[in-house]
């Protein structure tokens, strides 16, 4: 039986002209898979860091220091389109790495969770650098090719919460101050009340960049629920 079977298999290989695929074929496949993984990791780092950058730039990143309402502002400002891209890229990455033992030996939630933790940490670190600020500057001045400049357009930017302002203090009086938007657009009067949350103190001075959340009454006046300075300083234009 054994020899019959063996002969049958060997005869079939010969008859069908079955040839061993060359080693380079498998090396090429592995290289393509590795390149795919690398590209996806870079894409994930880029998109996640861009999401962090938009949150910081819009000011919502700092809102949770005001408590529950601040967290709501942060969630409301989440760049959904970028997060959807992150989910898609992470799933594709998980499918690509699933053929490696380090991935399939772990439950799906753990390997996918591991991927997300690593890329979110990496994205957070990248967002701390001046990379996106420079890219945004170049995109706005038309120095970047369209596919790159596209990322810094309005499409991916999170919505600006109506109850949040970010700006530089241009005038200060007891119980109120006036801020001007970071691009020099529009001013808002911020009214401080005894209930206003000031997690980083109340020493405000002209030139400070601040985040304000509160109730706007349809005018440029906002009754502050919380105010804090952010480290970033900006030239008043």
């Amino acid at each position: 039986m054994s020899e019959d079977f063996r002969d049958k298999v060997m005869a079939m290989i010969e008859k069908k002209g079955v040839a061993m695929r060359p080693r380079w074929h498998f090396i090429l496949l592995s290289a393509l898979a590795a390149a795919g993984i690398l590209i996806l990791v870079i894409a994930l780092l880029y998109v996640i860091s861009l999401a962090f950058f938009f949150l910081r730039e819009g000011g919502a990143w700092y809102a949770p220091s005001f408590g529950g309402r601040g967290w709501f502002v942060l969630l409301h400002s989440a760049p959904l389109l970028l997060l959807i891209l992150v989910a898609i890229f992470a799933l594709i990455l998980e499918i690509l790495v699933r053929k490696y033992s380090f991935a399939y030996r772990a439950p799906l939630t753990m390997s996918l969770g591991g991927i997300l933790v690593v890329v979110f940490l990496g994205g957070f670190v990248l967002a701390q650098t001046s990379f996106h600020r420079r890219m945004e500057f170049e995109a706005h001045h038309g120095y970047l090719p369209p596919p790159m400049g596209f990322w810094y357009g309005s499409m991916f930017r999170p919505p600006h919460p109506p109850d949040m302002r970010r700006g530089v203090i241009v005038m200060e009086e007891p119980g109120r101050f006036v801020i001007i938007g970071p691009d020099g657009e529009g001013t808002s009067t911020v009214i401080l009340t005894p209930k206003t949350r000031l997690p980083y103190g109340e020493d405000f001075a002209p030139g400070d960049m601040v985040i304000v959340i509160g109730d706007a009454d349809g005018t440029d006046t906002i009754r502050a629920f919380g105010v804090r300075t952010i480290e970033e300083r900006m030239e008043i234009q």
Binding site: S2, E3, D7, M10, M20, Y104, R105, P107, M110
Partner: protein, 186 residues
Amino acid sequence: MTETDEQVALAVQGGAANRFGELVERYEAKLLRYARKFLLDPEDAQDIVQDTFIKAYENLQSFDTSRRFSPWIYRIAHNEFVNALKKKESRRTVFTIDFDTLFPYLQAVDTADSVALERDTRETLEKHLDKLDAKYREPLILYYLESMDYREIADILHIPVSTVGVRLARARAMLQKQAKGQNIYE
């Protein structure tokens, strides 16, 4: 001294194509047993195992001879068998989203059964294996009939080691229910 599977595979990779027959001889009985128990169709088993060897020959250059040959060829066999089942049961999906592989389980220890328990399980398995779903049948075959450990089974099925433990535990419980004449899917 007999050469190891890996040494023979290396020789085949190096151009001694005829020596592939030695590997066929070594794995023929094991893969046929695996196929008959898993596919529950002795007639198809031989053809599918032949296809498995042909596929193994085609892809032999992808085998890393510093690793064990056995899980590699069993993995190919597993893929061939699952494809055969899918073709056969085209109306029923054999493996869809597998919730067993989503979350970590504590039950991951490769526990050696006592001799008596293992003998009992083998006997029950021979009688009632065909009543189980393919998902539970396969780890039982690999563990009890092919004497593989959890890690090897995980490598063949590409599932977490803890999932192997969970499936084996569930499969044993189903077998016990079946042996008592109860409905195993209740």
